[in-house]
Subunit: 193 residues, 2 copies
């Protein structure tokens, strides 16, 4: 059950068997159904989630009920609302599952204790954070550009998303409407001939 996570951690740092045991002790595995919430607007975020299998999304619901997707999480990604967790304030985001999924759950305090008890986990998490930050910065950069460039960047970096999530969710991720995305795709196919 935990092998997926161990394999991922092994790509960054080495854990002793004893440390793996300590880690397991604070992990809880959880099955979530498609459309099921892990976090809802107004909650205070208390957990960090690691996707073993499936797909999560994090989004804000604007006025006019429009859903703005901040992030997806597929296999081997962590997802949480750090801001809410760090400050103890209610979150503005929702996290739910786009597919039936299996996740590992770590509670906030247990996570911080892990950092203290297992230096390697501390390094692993910092690496995860740095990586997440770097990717988010790149996304920020593209969100400052017109729709066509956003889509081009998406195809270049994340084209495999297309197999997993619907067009309208990709459009939301790119900050454009589904209609505009549909037209950009048509245009791209045309220009590649």
């Amino acid at each position: 059950m935990y092998t997926t996570l161990f394999a991922h951690i092994d790509q960054h740092v080495s854990l002793t068997d004893k440390e793996k045991e300590m880690l397991c002790a604070v992990l809880v595995s959880k099955k979530v159904r498609r459309r099921q919430y892990l976090l809802q607007e107004g909650d205070v975020c208390q957990h960090d989630y690691f996707v073993i299998d499936g797909c999560l999304r994090q989004y804000e619901v604007g006025e006019n009920d429009k859903e703005n997707i901040v992030q997806f999480a597929f296999e081997n990604w962590w997802m949480s609302d750090w801001f809410s967790m760090l400050t103890g304030t209610p979150t503005v985001y929702n996290i739910d599952a786009l597919e039936d999924s299996t996740v590992l759950v770590v509670e906030k305090k247990a996570l911080h204790q892990l950092f203290i008890d297992i230096p390697a986990m501390d390094i692993y998490f910092r690496n995860m954070l740095l990586q997440a930050y770097a990717y988010l910065q790149r996304r920020t950069l593209y969100l400052q550009k017109p729709a066509e460039e956003r889509y081009a960047a998406f195809v270049k970096h994340y084209s495999w998303f297309e197999q997993r999530v619907s067009q309208q969710h990709i459009a939301s991720f790119l900050g454009i409407t589904r209609e505009t995305l549909s037209r950009l795709k048509a245009q791209q196919i045309k220009s590649s001939r």
Copy 2:
């Protein structure tokens, strides 16, 4: 000289005098003039910068020579290109000073050694990262929305920027043209009467 940084660290964690000494040993203070580069496209980023006084910007130069500002750094902010530093690949960003500034410089390896030697610095840096990530996520959210909402969010969260940086830089930060920003401002003044 280092009191600014110590004061900032103190807001998050406590350092012993011995630890402060160790920290000072790896810090180099540096004066940078307005327009002077700290990092240029193509460099591999090797340093993390802490602004004691002044203001930095991090930006990408697109085709058509357009500057896309990813981030500002004022007093008490750290700035670096984590992605380049983490992966050792050349950066796509430039970092330069918008005002004559004083910064503290830490070299990559020294920084990682700090994390190992001083647990409190480790926690401090993780907090910085979490905070930076949370803010960037909020920015991502607003970049998915129309110009008027971006500007409104800017005024709400960062209006003090306006005293420090030019309109065109703010426009770049918001991902809109300076003309559009100018019109939004005019419109805001009008509607507030």
